[in-house]
Symmetry: C2
Subunit: 256 residues, 2 copies
């Protein structure tokens, strides 16, 4: 049974999508069959893997409304062993459309259940919000990976995130845990990032991944080619960091 | 009557809050009385101006629910001429709480109307979402300032943003326009940012501000001291860029 990991942080621009794409590709490279589910109406994970959002096609929106089985929504990617379940802008309307539906928080969990035997990992790329879409991802997940920039507003957001995690555990998903906290876009040269990183290590201890992701322009260039970094520039510091992270995740999470 | 400017972009982490705080402070420094309204449940603009989110106090949440007049929610800041209307985490619940209320999109517009004679500008810091809070800000605003990182996912988000703007004009706010597009965290050295900047200038032409904001660590350090950059390090490139932007905004927008 696949281990489901949600890549989540309501703070915007911390590297959720960059982590989701590149960790998923690196897990596939390590021969663990991986599914990436794009749960964000921005559909950045989809376009970052070469699936343009303007083209009308069945996507997560149809799956969550019960109009299509997950099976029929899956797309292959440029990376062998990596499958994508794409998003679309229509997802933005779901927060209001599902308000009166029964079990509105468990739609994604139910949609993904039949896929679990086929993959070692299922990664969920979350939007920068504490809305119903994000909640669906937290209810469906076994554990969370929390990308964090080592900057002031990130520290402020941690309390918000931990409170949400406790709420989800209390009401819907008692076994949900933090798989790890990932430092992203890390610029070790600044005093600010060293200071904030030290504070976050004090707070999260063992749960901080040994691998930190450096700021590396190749990670920002790769999505414009529709490729994960390891297919765009394998020798780059960004691609190497995510390959290293994949090995750390495999050791910690023991996939199916 | 104050000119109301919404600082908005659903893409996360592009510098909305950094722009809201530092542009508001720079307008106040140019002796234009300015109000900054924090419309984001993350409450980063509030904490970045030294108003910690954990302390219970009347805030925008109470104003939008009709439980308090805007007048009673205003706080002074370290910057003379700059007033803050703080946010709180409770705002995250409003998207669901206001769903059945009449005129749910015009709550902010109505709340701010009595304050307009007292300020030259009112700036609205928006959350990274296309939700009811963000919609309230777009309906209340006269014009938008759109911070953009010159990176691939930013380009993808522009079409989404323009579509939202057209929707708001058609249904609620026909006079809404784009005051300007602001390049933020710009690293002129990379080929990617030069390429994306050129594409954005082709798309937005005159509406791109002449001032671009460079990546400058002093902008990221200042909020941890509860200060805008011009009070934290006036000589920094970040503080100077926002002072320059303020003059450009005053020329374009002719405050009250
Ligand atoms: N390590 C890195 N080095 C350089 N650029 C990076 C890195 N990680 C992410 N980026 C770039 O920073 C921007 C923000 O990253 P990304 O979009 O992945 O964050 P996000 O958390 O998914 O944002 P959102 O909150 O909008 O979903 C993107 O333009 C991305 O290309
Ligand atoms: N020009 C800059 N130079 C250096 N750091 C910056 C700059 N602008 C913003 N930052 C930092 O980048 C991060 C993202 O900026 P900010 O929080 O202002 O973006 P935002 O669009 O408001 O994010 P959100 O989508 O979460 O509301 C913050 O840690 C901020 O301190
Ligand atoms: Mg993202
Ligand atoms: Mg912000």
């Amino acid at each position: 049974m696949a281990r489901i990991l949600a890549i989540t942080n309501q703070k915007g621009g911390v590297g959720k999508t960059t982590t989701a794409i590149n960790l998923a590709a690196s897990l596939a490279a390590a021969e663990v069959p991986t599914l990436l589910v794009d749960c964000d109406p921005q559909a950045n994970a989809s376009s970052g893997l070469g699936v343009p959002p303007e083209v009308e096609r069945p996507n997560l929106y149809h799956g969550l409304r019960g109009e299509a089985a997950a099976e029929t929504l899956l797309l292959p990617t440029a990376m062998e062993g990596l499958t994508l379940l794409p998003a679309s802008r229509d997802l933005a309307g779901l927060n209001l459309e599902l308000v009166h539906e029964p079990e509105r928080e468990r739609r994604l969990q139910a949609l993904l259940a039949p896929l679990r035997p086929r993959f070692g990992f299922i990664l969920l790329d979350c939007p920068p919000a504490l809305d119903l879409l994000n909640l669906n991802a937290l209810v469906a997940a076994d554990a969370l990976i929390v990308p964090l920039q080592c900057e002031y507003f990130a520290l402020e957001g941690v309390a918000h995130l931990v409170r949400t995690l406790e709420l989800v555990r209390a009401h819907w998903n008692p076994a949900l845990e933090i798989a790890g906290v990932l430092f992203t876009q890390l610029d070790e040269r600044t005093h600010l990032s060293r200071q904030v990183a030290a504070e976050l290590r004090r707070h999260f201890g063992e749960r901080v991944f040994a691998t930190a992701i450096p700021r590396n322009v190749r990670l920002a260039e790769a999505p414009s080619h529709g490729l994960p970094a390891l297919l765009y520039d394998l020798k780059s510091r960004g691609a190497e960091a995510y390959l290293q992270l994949a090995h750390e995740v495999i050791q910690r999470e023991h996939p199916a």
